[in-house]
Symmetry: C3
Subunit: 141 residues, 3 copies
């Protein structure tokens, strides 16, 4: 299918908790599997999860913290991939694009070399909005 005919999913990944990361990566993986493009723009806590070593430590939000141990056990028993493993798989697809939010990096004092090597592009919100205006599904996670 030609690029112009492809359906497109655009997600702002603002959350940095494991439930939000799973939602973003499961939706992106599913999109790619059904031949849709998936564009993820990491900002705020989502961007903070792209710092080396951070995603492995992602936990549940305060509201659901008490369920964290049980969820981790279930995921291990299911041999469910970790968020970072899902991201690495996604990066192998030409249909997947990820962007790090440059203003967030300035706000948190994060430098390019602090980020995991999977990050492709560091861009501002304008670039993402241009992409999202051509998307069929837009979500803020």
């Amino acid at each position: 299918m030609g690029k112009s005919e492809r359906k497109k999913l655009a997600i702002v990944v603002q959350g940095g908790t494991i439930d939000k990361l799973y939602c973003a990566f499961i939706l992106a993986s599913t999109a790619v599997a059904i031949d849709m493009e998936a564009h993820l723009y990491f900002t705020f806590w989502g961007l903070n999860m792209l710092v080396k070593g951070a995603m492995e430590k992602a936990g549940l939000p305060a509201t659901y913290k008490h369920l964290e141990e049980q969820m981790r056990k279930n995921l291990e028993k299911m041999k469910y991939p970790t968020p970072y493993e899902m991201l690495k798989r996604l990066r192998k697809s030409d249909l997947f694009k990820m962007y790090a939010c440059s203003p967030t990096m300035a706000m948190f004092g994060i430098k390019r070399e602090d980020l995991i090597p999977e990050v492709e592009e560091i861009v501002g919100a304008a670039t993402f909005l241009e992409i999202a205006t051509t998307a069929d599904i837009t979500l803020f996670i």
Copy 2:
């Protein structure tokens, strides 16, 4: 109005707190009232709220927990319907569809018989993405 001309709202209900449930159900009820279709896909904490007896216990998130008592009193005074009452009303409309996320059920060990009878379909994310690509408004709540 014919189905193809109808505007369509598609929501991923990821949150399981009462404020998020109200937002999803108020938007869906309003959509249906103005002759739009409303499609709600319950995942993660949202899906957990479809377990029998769970929605009645939904509270506010940790950040706003201190406002819970006051909010409950206001809602009672206004005789505001509970989230579950709103959902039951929504289910009477042909314009409303709700879906339970099957991967979440596996992740949390939830079985079909654990869910409230209002649940129509248990589907994966691909089914929802296909629906959402034809929607006019897509939200992640």
Copy 3:
């Protein structure tokens, strides 16, 4: 560019924490800067932040509370505008529109005179859904 050709961003601002407000206002400011319309519908905690004096006190959500001091220091050092300053700048643009959710006001006992003077219109969800169906990007923040 004529109004009908302009791209349009529609956001439900449900969150009332400083990170969510920044996301909404940065996206709206960026949209306006690239000649897009930006429509913000404030509901729940977002609406509560439109009460006079409230936005200045917005903090981080419980999950990220421990990062609040550091973030505030970084923002001051960068001379980053506060959320309220961003909102006041946005209001000077003809491309920006903001709406206060009337059912939320009833739910929290908030009156028109309690709100900051920047609020233009107090409307129900139906008005916002009509606007959002013509938007190119729809987000729930």
